[in-house]
Point group: C2
Chain length 405, copies 2
Amino acid sequence: MATRTASTQDDLRRLNRARLLRHLHEHGAARRSDLVAFSGLNRSTVGVLVSELAEAGLVSEAAGAPGQVGRPSLLVEPVADSAVVIAFDLRVDCTVVALVGLGGQEIWRREQPHPRPTFTPEAAVRNVVSLIKQALRRAPDDSSWVGVGVGVPGIVDHADGLVRLAPNLGWSDVPLGRLLREAVGARFGFVPHISVSNDADLGAIAEHVRGVGKSNRNLIFLSGEVGIGGGIIIDGRPMLGAGGFGGEVGHMVVNPRGTECRCGAFGCWETEIGSDALMRAAGINDEGASVADVLEAAASGDRKARAAIDEAGEWLGLGLANLVNLFNPEVIVLGGHLRLLLPLVSAAVYRQVHHALPASRDQVRVEVPALNGDSTLLGAAETAFEELLIDPIAVIADAPHASAS
Amino acid sequence: MATRTASTQDDLRRLNRARLLRHLHEHGAARRSDLVAFSGLNRSTVGVLVSELAEAGLVSEAAGAPGQVGRPSLLVEPVADSAVVIAFDLRVDCTVVALVGLGGQEIWRREQPHPRPTFTPEAAVRNVVSLIKQALRRAPDDSSWVGVGVGVPGIVDHADGLVRLAPNLGWSDVPLGRLLREAVGARFGFVPHISVSNDADLGAIAEHVRGVGKSNRNLIFLSGEVGIGGGIIIDGRPMLGAGGFGGEVGHMVVNPRGTECRCGAFGCWETEIGSDALMRAAGINDEGASVADVLEAAASGDRKARAAIDEAGEWLGLGLANLVNLFNPEVIVLGGHLRLLLPLVSAAVYRQVHHALPASRDQVRVEVPALNGDSTLLGAAETAFEELLIDPIAVIADAPHASAS
C-alpha cells in the first residue's frame, strides 16, 4: 500500500509544477494566493514555479480582480492557445472529433458519419489521421500539439490501447494504439502522446473534471447504448482494475430469469435496459429506429412502448441500487439513452434506489450529464493532456507546432 | 484528480522515511540496496533515513546475507519489540484480541466468548479496555504502544468510528470510536491512535498486505457470516466511497424473485448465500447449529443439505461473476463460511464465473484466506499501525511505554 510520491528534490519540483498546471487546467484562472492555499507551498515557491510555467508559455499573469483586501494578487491563467490536443469519440455511427486547448476549451468540433459495416479498424485509422490533419489546420498559431485521445465503445487495455472487444463495431483484438502511433508517425513525422480508452471511462473522467461531478471524488458514469458501459471514479481516480477492464456494469446480472445476453449469461443489465432491448420490448424494430422513437410512441399513447419504458425503469433502478451499495458514490451520471429515459421513470428509480442501505443511499445523487453528448469526447481530451500535465516543461519543449504539422 | 504528494522538503523527508518503514513493516527485512531500488532514492539518502529510524529504535541493522556479489549490504530489519498495537475483532459470539509488534508479528492472542444479547456497546467498551490491560501486560519491555484497531461486523464511518448499523450485534448509530477514546483515556491517561472499521474491509487489508493477495493491487475479500460483507482494494488502496460505506456486496440483488431481505429488497446476495439462508434451505435450524453442520449433513448423504449447498454454489458463482465484471480484480478471497463452501461448489463457481467477460475472467483467481480466521484481526492491527507509518519519528516520540500503561 505504498503512496505514490516524490523521491528526490527534482521529482518534487516537477510534481509541484505539474500540480499547479493541472489545477489551472481543471479549475481555470486562479490568484497566486489561491495556488498557495491549494498547494500548501509557500508564496515564493509558487512564484518560481509559475514563472517557469509562464516562460514555457503555458500560463500568463494579469492583475487580479479588483476589490481584494490587501496587496492585489496576480491572476494566473492557463493559456488555451499554448498547447492543444485532438480528441475523438469513435461511435457506432459516426466519428466525433474536437480540437481542445489547455484549460479544456473546445476550439473546433466536427461529426463525421460512417456507415457501420465498413468502419473497419483500418478505415477508423485513416479517418483519424485525416481528421487530425483538419483539426491541426484550425490550431492557433504557435500552439504546440501535445496529444491525441480516443474513446472506443469497447473493452480497452489502457496501457497499450489494445481494443480487446468492441462488439458493436465488430472489432476484436485490434491494436488500435499501435496502429494509430504508426499511422500518425508516418503522416506527421512525429508521434505525440496517444491514449485509447473505453468510452464510458472517458465520460466518467470528463463529468468528474468538468461536469456534474466536479466537486465529487466518487462518481459512476453510465453510457447507455446497445450495451451499457460504466466508468468509475474512486477517490478522484479512475478505477481500472487489474487490466483496466473494470466497470463493465452492463454485464452485471440483475435478472437471472431474463434473456440470454451475447456474453452467455442470462439477464445482464444491458439485456434489460440496453437500447436494443428497450426497442424490442416496445415492438419498435424498424431499421434506423432509436430509443427516441420509443419515447415518442409512449407519449402518443402506445401502451406497449409505455410498458417497455416502465419495465426498463424498474431494472434501471434495481441496478443503480446495486451500484450504490457496492461503490457508495456521490453521483451516478446517466448518459446516452438512459439520459432520455430517466425523466420518465424517476419514480421507479427512486423507489428502487431507496432499497440501497441508508448510509450510502443518503449520499448519492442520480443525474444526467452536464456535458450533453460530449462527455466521452471531452474525457478523451483530458487523457490526451495527461502527459503534459505530468511533466509540462519537458513535454512542451519536445512538442511540434500544431500548425506546422 | 490531484495526486497526493509532498509539498515541501520537510514533507518529502518525512514521507520517504515513512515509505521505508512501511516497506520494512509489510515486506520484512531488506538490504539497503533493496531499499534503494524500491524507493528510487540514492544510497546516501537511504543511509540517513535508516539511521534516523534506527535511532528511534524502529529498525536495526545487521550484516547482510553471505554470498552476495560485491560489497556486503547491511540488512535492515523492523524491530518487532519497538512498537506494538492491540487489535480487536468484535464478532457476533466472541471478542478476539491480539498484541501485534511492528512487522506484523503476533505476540499474544486470545478469544473471549460473549453471550450475544448482553453484548451491548457499553459491554464491548468495557471488554476492550480490560483486554487492552491484559495485552499490555504481555508487551515487550521498552516497547511503545502506538495504536488500537477494531473490526466490527457492520457499516462504519471510518473517519470517526461511528457504527451506523451492525445488525447482528443489534447496534445502530453507536459512536464506538468516541466511546473507546473516552474510556481508554480515562483508564490509561493516554489516547493512542484508535481506528474502527468494517470487518470485511480489514480482512481485505490483511489479505492484501500479508495474505493471499500480497502481490496483487486489486483484491476483494468476502466475509461470509449471517450477512455477506465485502472489503475491496483498488490499485493497492482500500475503496471507501463517499462515506466509507462501499463494498456492501451482501445487498447486491442477484435474484429479484428471491426472499425478502432485512434491507427491504428481494433476493440480495446474502439472502441466497448467507449462513442463515443456507441453514434454512438445508432444514437445519437448531439453536447453535452452523454451516459446518450443513456440510456434515450433506457429507452423510442428506439430500436437502446437498441441494441447499448446490443452490448456494450457483448464487455464489453468479455474484462472483458480477464482481469480476465490475471490479476486474486479480483475486477474490472467500472468508467465513464461504471458505468452507468453496471446495464443495467449485464446479458451479467455475461455470458461473466463466460467464464474466473473458478479459477480466482470465485475470482473476478465487481463493480462500491465507490468514485463516484472523484476516479481520490482522487487518485491525494494520490500521492501528497507520499513524506510526505516516510519521514514525513523531508518533514514537509521543507514545508511552506499553508496559508502563
